[in-house]
Symmetry: C2
Subunit: 428 residues, 2 copies
């Protein structure tokens, strides 16, 4: 048997403890599949005493993750600290500088510093891998960068934040308000310490930016992701969308257009019968579209101890097997800065507005839409008790600019109560 692969694990939270457990429980399996034993030499975390449900006394302890990264008896730094900067970045840079491979689950760090870190790893001749950073246990980084390597990618889209999907589906099934379910999710510990990372779409935006880089050979451009969270999604819209045959998802979409790279993470309507439309609870789903392969759908747990640890082990075993891959699927020096493009292509939209219940109201709204060049695919007005009538409209594909013109003109009609709601309908 060849030399063991020696790991230094920095960060012993849920995922870190999960990785340690697998390495302890499945040593024989990992050695058989990796072609060599996978062992832990040293670990590092903030508090040494905390009980993590796993025995650590066989490993050296380092208070400083940077010192861990530099240990001569560590071949691979497994960075599970988290955070875009600070100790995670310091340890990663130290490991690279010391000529060690790095496996990380840190989407924030790579979304902000991916290009610099990938270039540093490359010139140091080490690999930097991040399967666990996107969609937890779903091997989507591998599927996209290796499985679909022969394809010109047409589109990458998906639900990449389980917490948001839990909130949206729980609102629907429970007929509950966003605030009620948000509180429930907080109690259940589903939310990040800073919940806006989840519900604000930032965490999912990080993941999308990483996949876009692999898909299009572009440098990670997280700042160019157009991000909108789910905070303003109401149960009324969820129920109205359902009634029209759609479901609302926090959907990430990356595609290369003539105008440049389009990256958006925002609530969208998708057909209720589509795979994405059927996604329940905290599950993640990523759809990869390639010119040769067509559409591939990948579904699984996007977070949690086991799934995320499974992804970390995938990268570790690749290294054990001698697989040496570029961080983003091609040499970092060949990645080009993307030209960020807004979502200009016409799309159908869902509109919900409250109309004053008086003759001619609908005619005025229809006129405003018509003047903006927006044609109506379907429209519903519901029976109502209040003096205002809820009206739902599904438009034919419309440029966003035309929609914005129409929305701006709505108040002038004098028949629309409050702000109309407009949500893009994604063709999936």
């Amino acid at each position: 048997m060849t030399d063991p692969l020696r790991l230094g694990i920095a960060g012993l939270g849920t995922v870190g403890a999960g990785v340690v457990k697998i390495i302890q429980r499945r040593a024989e399996l990992l050695a058989r599949r990796g072609g060599r034993p996978v062992v832990i030499t040293a670990v590092s975390a903030r508090s040494r005493d905390r009980d993590r449900g796993v025995k650590l006394d066989a490993y050296d302890w380092e208070d400083d993750p940077v010192a861990l990264a530099r240990r001569p008896d560590v071949d691979v730094l497994v960075e599970l600290i988290g955070g875009s900067d600070g100790p995670a970045k310091a340890a990663t840079e130290a490991a690279i500088a010391a000529g060690k491979d790095v496996v990380t689950a840190n989407k924030a760090m790579l979304a902000h510093h991916g290009q610099a870190l990938a270039e540093a790893a490359e010139s140091a001749g080490v690999v930097l891998r991040f399967e666990a950073a996107v969609a937890g246990g779903i091997p989507v980084v591998k599927a996209l960068s290796e499985g679909l390597a022969g394809n010109e990618v047409r589109r990458v889209l998906g639900v990449m934040n389980g917490t948001c999907n839990y909130i949206l589906t729980r609102m629907e099934h429970g007929g509950l308000s966003y605030d009620a379910v948000f509180e429930e999710a907080r109690r259940l510990g589903y939310l990040e310490a800073d919940p806006t990372l989840d519900v604000g779409g930032i965490d999912a935006g990080h993941k999308l930016a990483l996949l876009a880089s692999i898909a299009y050979g572009t440098q990670v451009a997280f700042d160019a992701v157009q991000i909108e969270g789910i905070e303003r999604i109401s149960i009324r819209d969820i129920e109205a969308a359902r009634d029209m045959g759609f479901r609302i998802k926090l959907l990430g979409v990356a595609q290369m257009t003539a105008a440049g790279l389009e990256q958006r993470m925002s609530p969208c309507l998708v057909p209720a019968t589509s795979p994405l439309g059927q996604l329940e609870a905290a599950t993640n789903m990523v759809v990869l579209e390639g010119d040769a392969v067509g559409q591939i759908v990948l579904q699984g747990a996007g977070a949690g101890e086991g799934p995320t640890a499974s992804a970390v082990l995938s990268d570790i075993l690749d290294i054990a097997r001698g697989t040496r891959l570029s961080t983003f699927g091609q040499p970092a020096t060949t990645l080009v800065p993307p030209r960020p493009a807004p979502a200009t292509a016409p799309a159908p939209y869902y509109l919900r507005m409250e109309l004053l219940d008086r003759p001619g109201s609908l005619a005025r709204v229809a006129a405003v839409l018509g003047e903006a060049g927006i044609s109506i695919d379907r429209m519903r007005q519901y029976r109502h008790s209040e003096p205002v009538a809820p009206v739902l409209i599904v438009t034919h594909p419309t440029p966003r600019s035309a929609l914005d013109r129409a929305l701006a003109a709505m108040p002038e009609t004098g028949v629309v109560e409050g702000q109309p709601v407009a949500i893009r309908i994604e063709d999936v």
Copy 2:
């Protein structure tokens, strides 16, 4: 730029032509992702003159695939001839003996000779890869052998033959008989030259045996796969199953039990609301269950020029990138012969029988089931015009042996017309 990776392509059918097209159209993309140019040196096929919609005059022609495999200017043999033996096997063996890597889409060859070929490749220090052999464009070999390498696999199941799924779903949506749709599929060219490979479950059985080897570290044991085709599935059962909340799929299942390795490819009922139950047309779906990752669902096109060529390119680019993996996820010499086990674990079953319409009929059937220790979960008798009444029964989990006893005893009741139909219900 480093030396180009030189391919010799044997077999220029749909897939072979598709691979040539991608290499011609995407040369820059492949070189960027592979880290080196991917070029074709020579090709081989039965007829030189046939128009394949792709220019071949830039490549040397070999009438004999074995000669192609031995060419000193070929680094990788891309075997797309097909067939478990004959020229495909001869060319593969010649390439391995000549120290060349092999990429193949040949499930039949690997199902029958996978262990010997993998051992030969290993001792020759070359790689033998087969992503395209299982589920077309879905990168399932990679997902299982690399993405889930840190998992103890609990179960591998899926729909792995698009033609069978097309036939079953077309029967359902068209209310058509098996024979009618079979003829339609033949006209559309969906069927293999020998259709029993498809509808008999053999092609899908080949694929299951390959995945089982990766999942459990066992030698490929195709002969141990319990195979039953879809030929006897009637539109009545499809409609009755749907009425009970199920759909009928040709389902492959591999799992390691205390008794040994269970491998079966047979029609099963699955919940209509499950991902497998919602699978339409010729799409494939593979579900991978691991102790850490939980359940991963992969869906995509299981056949066709583009999807299959995409999978072939995935293996080719792995080789271009210097990735050297064992054929079945671990050294072939460490794969153990599996102990084949029948599906002994109790499972629920769907039963359909025709009862003579006279008092006490149902009581007698229920008595026979009860004597065999089979308890009924749900039962339906339909309004009927004929003198016999169609009765559907869904049992609680039942050992197959008990079910067989009950079925054998049914004629004695004197009230059951013809043979009852019994189909396993798979928990997915």
